[in-house]
């Protein structure tokens, strides 16, 4: 599986770096920015889901399909470009975010210009361009793979449903959650947001792979694939939240405790507030939203999360989601596609140990 995903990642990087879309884009720095995130690498989880679901449903390795897979990655990336503007993030995958990079390279070329605003404005347009690029890639890939034009149209519309309507709703709900009072937010609200923000694009990747293989877009296979993708997305996100407070900074490459500092309404936090005794609650309320968290504060918060039973609850829920994802795959015959998907679940599951 790890070898396979490495190969897929290389193919995707190759496709996006050499793609001819938008040769005419001006100014040049905008065109270069469009290629930036998609060329930076990353896990390429969505293209892998596409290929493995295609294979699991009996699909062939058709030339062109890597463009369809790359379309999912480009889509994912434009949402990151716009997310980063909204969140004001400055780093992504060890390099400046698009709006920061454009402020530096383009914004500073002009005297009397607000370089930061210029960077944000150009990054906004950059994400817009990438959304179009993703659609164009999906169509060209489908045509090269000689899929039926009517099927390609269905694939584009599926992408607009899952990756536009649902994913952007998830992003909007996430932005909204950050503004709401934490006591008014339910676990159900957060799970719903996760299904949309993370699950919908996983689901899109899996469904498009199945559609490319099967030539149709409805039926029992799609219910099973939907279950698999949504449970995988939930498990992935619940785990991420646990690692965000309990992980090791070095391994994760991200700042431990930032969820607490930002009062991020994770299931882990909501469950602690729901299940915790008075002492746990006092500890948690004392650290939430504080900028000056010490290691001892984080350790105290961890203890409160464990003592309250929230930690075990989230671990058990994560496990249940991984198990349900695995269970959904049993509907399909065993082949290299299903095998890779099962190994992926194993691999992600062991990430937290």
């Amino acid at each position: 599986m790890l070898e396979d995903i490495k190969k897929i990642a290389d193919r995707i990087t190759d496709v996006v770096k050499n793609d001819k879309y938008g040769k005419e884009i001006k100014p040049d720095y905008l065109r270069e920015a469009m290629f930036d995130y998609p060329s930076r690498g990353g896990k390429r989880l969505r293209p892998a889901l596409f290929f493995w679901c295609c294979k699991m449903c009996g699909g062939e390795e058709l030339a062109g399909l890597e463009k369809c897979a790359a379309a999912l990655e480009v889509w994912h990336n434009w949402t990151l470009v716009h997310d980063d503007i909204i969140d004001g993030d400055v780093m992504r995958r060890n390099a400046p975010t698009t709006h920061i990079a454009l402020a530096e390279t383009a914004g500073k070329k002009f005297t009397d210009t607000d370089a930061e605003k210029y960077g944000r404005d150009m990054a906004l347009l950059c994400g817009d361009l990438q959304q179009g690029w993703a659609v164009d890639l999906l169509i060209r890939g489908g045509e090269e793979a000689k899929l039926a034009p009517s099927l390609i149209l269905k694939m584009v519309r599926r992408m607009e449903l899952r990756a536009n309507v649902e994913l952007i709703s998830g992003e909007a709900l996430d932005v909204e959650l950050a503004e709401r009072e934490i006591d008014d937010i339910t676990v159900c609200d957060v799970m719903h947001m996760i299904d949309l923000k993370t699950g919908a694009l996983f689901r899109c990747a899996c469904e498009l792979g199945a559609m490319a293989a099967l030539g149709y877009d409805k039926g029992r296979e799609f219910e099973k694939i939907s279950d698999f993708a949504l449970y995988l997305g939930r498990a992935f996100q619940l785990q991420d939240d646990v690692l965000g407070t309990f992980g090791e900074e070095k391994k994760l490459g991200k700042d431990i405790g930032s969820d607490l500092r930002e009062r991020k309404p994770t299931v882990l936090l909501l469950k602690t507030l729901e299940m915790g005794d008075d002492i746990s609650l006092e500890i948690i309320r004392n650290v939430l939203g504080r900028d000056d968290l010490s290691k001892a504060d984080i350790e105290a918060a961890r203890n409160a999360m464990v003592r309250s039973g929230a930690y075990d609850f989230v671990k058990a829920e994560t496990e249940r989601c991984f198990a349900s994802a695995l269970d959904a795959l049993k509907y399909f015959p065993m082949n290299s596609g299903r095998c890779n998907l099962e190994s992926l679940i194993e691999y992600l599951y062991s990430r937290e140990k």
Copy 2:
């Protein structure tokens, strides 16, 4: 022609208001914002170009085509939503812009929230949703009109080229022009920007109409249609620039003199700087970028523009562009489509008298 465009406008408003796209979008205020601009009306020039070019190329009035036409309007509108964020505009068609409206309706629901930023963030996502809606509408319209799926794919790709790559490049160049020193900008730079920012979507509308009628996407018809659309776009924009300084505030519903206040590098301004004598130059340089322009200042600037010969130059250029647009239509047989397009040119031409 005027009666026909009124009918088209009503049909488009009907289509966008009742469209089922994105029923699932959350939060509700985001879904409502998505429908806002497209439901506000406006000239519906792009849908009219689509229908009339379709007719001129022998196309039938097929059910579904109004969705394709509406796709062009929705596309136009998402670019306005993002433009308005970039420009910080507060009003559009006599109502608050999307980001201002969302700041009011959504942002102010939360205590301690920066409502203006919240409005901008949600408007950013709103424009992203509208881009997907436009693609989905075009596909559904093509399918309802029973166009060949391979043709619909070509239409989507044409929209991604003209309305994404080219139009967004035009928007980016426009943002860039505003930051450059006026003496470093050439008339050629501005014309290039106009062809992309205004011409490309006109061209897209005309080409999609012709494709729906002809079933193919290349050939002499498309060269002629491209000439028509680009010249029409240039004439339209040059005229707009003249009206921006010489028009009547009441008729235009826009602030006369704002181009001077904002140092907008119009062809009219660049030509005045190029052709003006010392006195004209002094007058112009004195008013440029000033916030406190009096009516006398604007009158002085007008005189300088006329005296320098720039006014006549731009009027002649506008006339030449309208004539070239008219000339391109002569390639096509006379029918109601061509007749409406000719009347449109006449109508727009007489706008400045």
